[in-house]
Symmetry: C2
Subunit: 313 residues, 2 copies
């Protein structure tokens, strides 16, 4: 009795087969051919899975899929897929149930990262926790009493809480959202803006040109001791700290896990987050929470997708 | 088999006895003699309860108590009581268990208002809901799958989410909290500030003098058509809308209930709240939520305390 997990991302997709306890037997990464539209992506995923199943002579009894949201879990469709053009209202469950003849459960990709960290990562044994994913965008997931909390279906949009009411435009169409202030995209944008007044910063040298400035370059410059780069991370951590403080005040979790590509800078980001939460959240609630980095890296989502397939929840 | 509910407030305390289904048999309001310190308050409450029990010839098998928090439910003590000087670390459970020989459960007063509205008010039959109490301060309560969600014990501090990072000082010791922008205290403070530039506003006339300006006076002036007063309510509703939008984005509830004395102005406050949530929360999540006024008035807390005693949760 094996299960299949699929973690569909805007650039990479991971598929993995696991045993009924969720231990991974085989895992494959493919590029997401998103420019070719949904049917090309779906059949690329199907082919990758079939190759795995044939090679390892496995059969599957259940499928868990993570994808950008918001989505309608009951109807099994993606409502809006910000990273996947043409995927709005796509019936993902129907496709893969037909393809593999097994029940399919879907969820928001960041919810599944939260589930992955809860079951096999930094959050093992923690009853109430909140997960922030800081990457190109900013997402969230909530685990309550060990289970994913979804509200009406799409809870945990931590990235779109309003941190600065008059802040920058956000990709969601609103403004001043946490995402518009701490995502990788925002870090790169702010770095480019600030460079005009800081021509001696090493960020530009490391990037090569202004259009090649990324959050990763700003991280490397900060580790090299560049003042502007360090200031950008400090500012980012303080904004993120406000968002974490709000989630702490609202959910009173025992743990906040910060994952995602941008979070890999570690304490450069987490130190100002922790300090800001201590300064700005209610004292008793700040005392209750540990703020820790995710430990599953870019496998958090696929591990969560497999747990979804195992738990069928 | 009857139960006792106690709702301890900074100025008024309500005690009530109910049957095992939670229907109120007898209810009594007393002034909270808080200036005389905790033992005077506790014995005033005990006397009021004994008078009720004797008069109606009732016995009780369980007690539910609501009080300002944060508190430690497991140890049965109040950690910090902002409205009750001298109550920090008070062992409330011990006192009333000894007094009445019955098990005692305590909870945050606003949590119990949320429970009251969930069981007998605007939230009957709603699975996931968030309750905002807008009074002298601003509190919150979260109901998930029909049960109070408490996190590590004190979740739902909606009033202390940060709305304006550089905003006014808050009584909690931080700044820019929702409470510092929308509480009755804040409305009165802003009205006094704005009056300097608006000498013709009817607020001052209605109040009699600057130190008698209250949120209630600002409400009366607004209903009379006073421009400044209407602007203050609009501003208050927009700030509150940001706080509600954040809770909607984080919890994706099916309903947000706005209760408390300040909320009694109705649509003067709720219209800008609803508009702001629609403008600032994620579209799908804003579509999921109904924002409604509480219906239990100042009895929400005592009804919740009785439910706590019945459900012993």
């Amino acid at each position: 009795m094996n299960v299949l997990g699929i973690d569909i991302g805007g650039t990479k997709t991971i598929v993995a087969v696991a045993d009924s306890d969720g231990h991974i037997i085989a895992l494959e990464r493919i590029d997401t051919p998103r420019e070719q539209g949904p049917s090309a992506v779906l059949s690329a995923i199907e082919s990758a899975v079939r190759a795995l199943l044939t090679h390892y002579a496995l059969r599957i009894t259940s499928v868990g899929i993570g994808c950008g949201g918001p989505l309608d879990r009951e109807r099994g469709i993606i409502l809006v897929a910000p990273n996947l053009p043409g995927w709005d209202n796509l019936d993902l469950v129907h496709y893969f149930r037909n393809a593999f003849g097994a029940p399919v459960v879907i969820d928001n990709d960041v919810n599944l990262m939260a589930l992955g960290e809860a079951r096999s990562g930094a959050g093992v044994g923690v009853d109430h926790m909140a997960y922030f994913n800081i990457g190109t965008g900013v997402g969230g997931g909530i685990v309550i009493s060990g289970k994913l909390y979804r509200g009406c279906g799409n809870a945990g949009e931590f990235g779109h809480q309003i941190i600065l009411p008059d802040g920058p435009d956000c990709l969601c169409g609103k403004r001043g959202c946490l995402e518009s202030l701490v995502s990788g995209t925002s870090i790169a944008r702010r770095a480019r803006e600030y460079l005009a007044d800081h021509p001696r910063s090493s960020i530009l040298k490391l990037a090569g040109s202004l259009d090649k400035v990324t959050a990763e370059v700003v991280a490397r410059a900060a580790f090299d001791g560049d003042d502007l780069a360090r200031r950008i991370w400090l500012e980012t951590g303080e904004y993120l700290g406000l968002g974490v403080a709000n989630v702490v005040n609202i959910l009173n979790p025992r743990m906040v896990i910060i994952g995602g590509g941008v979070a890999q800078v570690g304490d450069l980001l987490l130190d100002p987050v922790r300090r800001t939460v201590r300064e700005r959240a209610m004292t008793q609630l700040a005392d209750d929470v540990r703020i820790v980095p995710g430990v599953l890296g870019d496998q958090a989502g696929i591990i969560g997708a497999i747990r979804l397939a195992v738990e069928r929840d």
